[in-house]
């Protein structure tokens, strides 16, 4: 398992390196092979985009090409990929080892005691094997070299390589503690004059039945690593894609290139193409990450795939799409009212408030595994649903029809927001000189209404 993980990380690292090499090489090559070179190759997918969507497709095609060409995108994708890999691999590495614990035995350990120690290991959910050690000094050497994890000396003493601190929850520490306890109890029983069989019966006494009057209310809710993982992913990705839209619109407006573009295309076409193009890149990036996450989880046997895991990841992917569809319009409309690049910060802040609220409150639910009314409500509000709904799915607190209602609400409000945003965009994108205020825009007639 370990070698595989290391190979995977090295492979990603090499891939990133090679991409940069190639790019740098290409960048150097450009001046020597002047104008024709960047103008030639054209993958067929792009032409498809244009043939299906016309002018909108052309605009989208430019967005896709420029986005993928940008260094920010390449580095960003690489970093997110590494974080995803780390988030999956590190818990697996630190998780209890699946190899059996090796317990060295110096001197004699009677068969009933062996059974008792094995049973205590079983209770910890781990497996162990006994290894005979000829004498204490060999046992010490084996402990130091890691050949054995725990040594039992004459059934009187338990030795480990490193002293166990109070909060140590590692399997070895727990096993050593349990073995010491078991041996001590057995010795005490023996001292009290019980036979080994009697002592064994006491140690493994069956608990009496335990009955609750009402069924447990949160019994089906469970802390799910998948819901935390996907929630963080949705938050990061959605933030990234919203920023692309915002800066894209602002760049066009502040560089005045929008004048030249709008001389040839309608504002709605320009906006639609931008949303479509960035959406395609976003979908490709998110799908790639999810595919890597699922594939890697399957390969290393991560907890991510247990229980509601796969459903949560797919729900999150769906909500990422819905969240993008909702927020892209909001950010595009906001970007069109900006006059200078510096205003972006102050403008973006109020827009991120619902995102932060949805994210933080959902994160609480995802980590504790206990839903609350607030998040239940947020799961139906389109701005916060992309965070709240997949979280509820992750902890198993949402039924399919609740999910469906939330999706329908989100789609309906996205249509409304898209219309409003397009209308704001048309009015604001050509206004220069100062920040445009929303109220004033809604009253105004769109520029070029004679179009």
């Amino acid at each position: 398992m370990k070698p595989f993980i290391i190979v995977a990380i090295v492979a990603v690292f090499i891939a990133v390196r090679v991409t940069f090499r190639f790019r740098r090489h290409r960048a150097r090559a450009v001046p020597s092979v002047p104008p024709q070179m960047p103008l030639q190759t054209k993958p067929p997918r792009r032409s498809l985009l244009v043939s299906v969507f016309g002018v909108v497709g052309l605009v989208a095609q430019r967005e896709v090409r420029e986005r993928i060409r940008g260094r920010v995108f390449q580095v960003g994708t690489g970093i997110i990929l590494l974080v995803v890999i780390a988030a999956i691999v590190i818990p697996v590495l630190t998780r209890s080892k699946s190899e059996p614990e090796r317990v060295g035995v110096v001197g004699t350990l009677s068969a009933p005691l062996r059974t008792a120690v094995l049973a205590s290991a079983d209770a910890l959910g781990t497996t162990m094997t006994f290894v005979s050690e000829p004498d204490p000094s060999t046992a010490d050497a084996d402990l130091r070299s890691g050949h054995v994890d725990v040594v039992i000396v004459d059934a009187k003493q338990v030795v480990v390589a490193t002293a166990i601190s109070a909060g140590d929850t590692s399997t070895t520490a727990q096993l050593a503690g349990a073995a010491a306890q078991t041996l001590g109890t057995a010795a005490a029983f023996q001292a009290a004059g019980l036979t080994a069989a009697q002592a064994n019966a006491i140690i493994h006494a069956k608990p009496v039945s335990l009955v609750g009057l009402q069924p447990a209310s949160v019994s089906h809710h469970k802390h799910s690593p998948a819901s935390v993982f996907t929630l963080v992913l949705v938050f990061v990705m959605l933030g990234q894609y919203s920023t692309w839209i915002l800066t894209g619109v602002v760049e066009e407006k502040t560089s005045r290139v929008v004048e030249v573009l709008l001389a040839a295309v309608r504002p709605a076409q320009l906006l639609g193409g931008k949303v479509l193009g960035i959406g395609l890149v976003a979908a490709a990036q998110a799908s790639m990450l999810v595919a890597v996450a699922l594939g890697l989880s399957a390969a290393v046997g991560s907890d991510l795939l247990h229980g509601t895991g796969p459903v949560t990841v797919l729900a999150a992917l769906l909500w990422l799409v819905l969240g993008y569809a909702f927020y892209c319009w909001v950010y595009a409309a906001a970007g069109s009212t900006v006059e200078r690049q510096e205003q972006v910060q102050s403008l973006a802040f109020p827009l991120t408030i619902p995102v932060i609220v949805g994210y933080i409150s959902s994160l609480t639910v995802a980590t504790t595994g206990t839903p609350n009314t607030f998040v239940d409500v947020l799961a139906y509000l389109p701005p916060t649903a992309p965070f709240a709904m997949p979280t509820l799915v992750g902890i198993g607190a949402a039924t399919w029809w609740e999910f469906a209602i939330s999706v329908v609400l989100s789609i309906a409000s996205t249509v409304a927001v898209a219309r409003l945003a397009t209308s704001i965009y048309r009015r604001a994108i050509l206004r220069t000189g100062r920040r445009v205020h929303i109220r004033e825009l809604l009253r105004a007639k769109p520029t070029g209404s004679q179009r």
Binding site: V30, P31, P34, P35, Q36, M37, P38, L39, Q40, K42, S47, V50, V55, L58, V59, R62, R65, E66, G70, E251, E252, S255, R256, V257, V258, E259, V260, L261, L262, A263, A264, V265, R266, L430, K445, T447, G448, S449, Q450, R451
Partner: protein
């Protein structure tokens, strides 16, 4: 100019092309170069021009060929692989023009295409505009440097603070109005001698070269004699009216 492309609303009137109101398909056959440069700062020059061509209806292959051709024609073919924001102002202007011309528009509208250019740039861009006009394309451009555009234009409309001052063929405007003389008297850089003459108005003085507007009754021989009395006359000729003079005289 922005109203032609629906970028701003007219206070009154409407924009017509070949007698019909302009719609989006018609606009795509126009080319536009705004005064404030509009190019994507981070996009490669070649990609940018090609993209503009495609937005105006060229196929991918046509746009490629046209981009190559126009970048070469405007002398920036070696910068096709550069980002726009590393280019000099003059080169950006050339790229901007290429982006406006790449789809062979039937109408080209340029807002101050010559502002901020060095003489070589003015010559190059001016030559391209004249060549387009000769090829049957309608070229409309604005400029504050009236004398600079005099040689380029056929027809000029002078607007001052939103009011129409005058409009007509350049040749008609230049030959209309009172006669004018260009006189240079060595040693008198301010043309002080001419200022005292009756029936003569000094239109401008440029490094000793005086442009004089003669009243109808004034005889040019009188002016010549006065000039010879003032010093050695190295230049004495009748001249056409300059556009800047048309502008000033129309406002006076």
């Amino acid at each position: 100019m922005r109203a032609i492309f629906g970028l701003t609303d007219l206070d009154s009137g409407e924009v017509r092309w070949n007698g019909a109101k302009i719609d989006q398909p018609t606009r795509r056959r126009f080319g536009y170069m705004p005064e404030e440069r509009g190019l994507y700062p981070g996009m490669l020059v070649g990609d940018q021009v090609e993209y503009m061509g495609r937005l105006h209806g060229l196929s991918a292959a046509q746009a490629q060929v046209a981009t190559k051709m126009w970048l070469e024609r405007l002398g920036v073919a070696d910068r096709a692989g550069s980002k726009v924001d590393v280019l000099s102002h003059g080169n950006q202007q050339r790229v901007q023009l290429a982006a406006a011309l790449v789809h062979e528009p039937e109408l080209i509208v340029l807002d101050e295409p010559l502002s901020g250019l060095d003489p070589a740039g003015i010559d190059d861009i001016g030559a391209v505009l004249v060549e387009r006009a000769a090829a049957g394309c309608c070229v409309v451009f604005s400029s504050h440097q009236l004398d600079l555009v005099e040689d380029l234009c056929e027809w000029v409309t002078i607007i001052d603070h939103g009011k129409l001052v005058t409009s007509g063929r350049v040749d008609d405007l230049a030959t209309s109005g009172p006669r004018r003389l260009v006189v240079r008297v060595e040693g008198d850089r301010d043309a002080a001698w001419a200022k005292k003459l009756a029936g003569v108005t000094v239109s401008e003085v440029n490094g000793g070269e005086a442009r004089l507007v003669l009243d109808e009754s004034t005889d040019s021989d009188v002016v010549l004699r006065a000039a010879m009395a003032a010093g050695r006359v190295s230049e004495f000729s009748f001249a056409r009216r300059r556009l800047s003079e048309v502008f000033r005289e129309a406002l006076a």
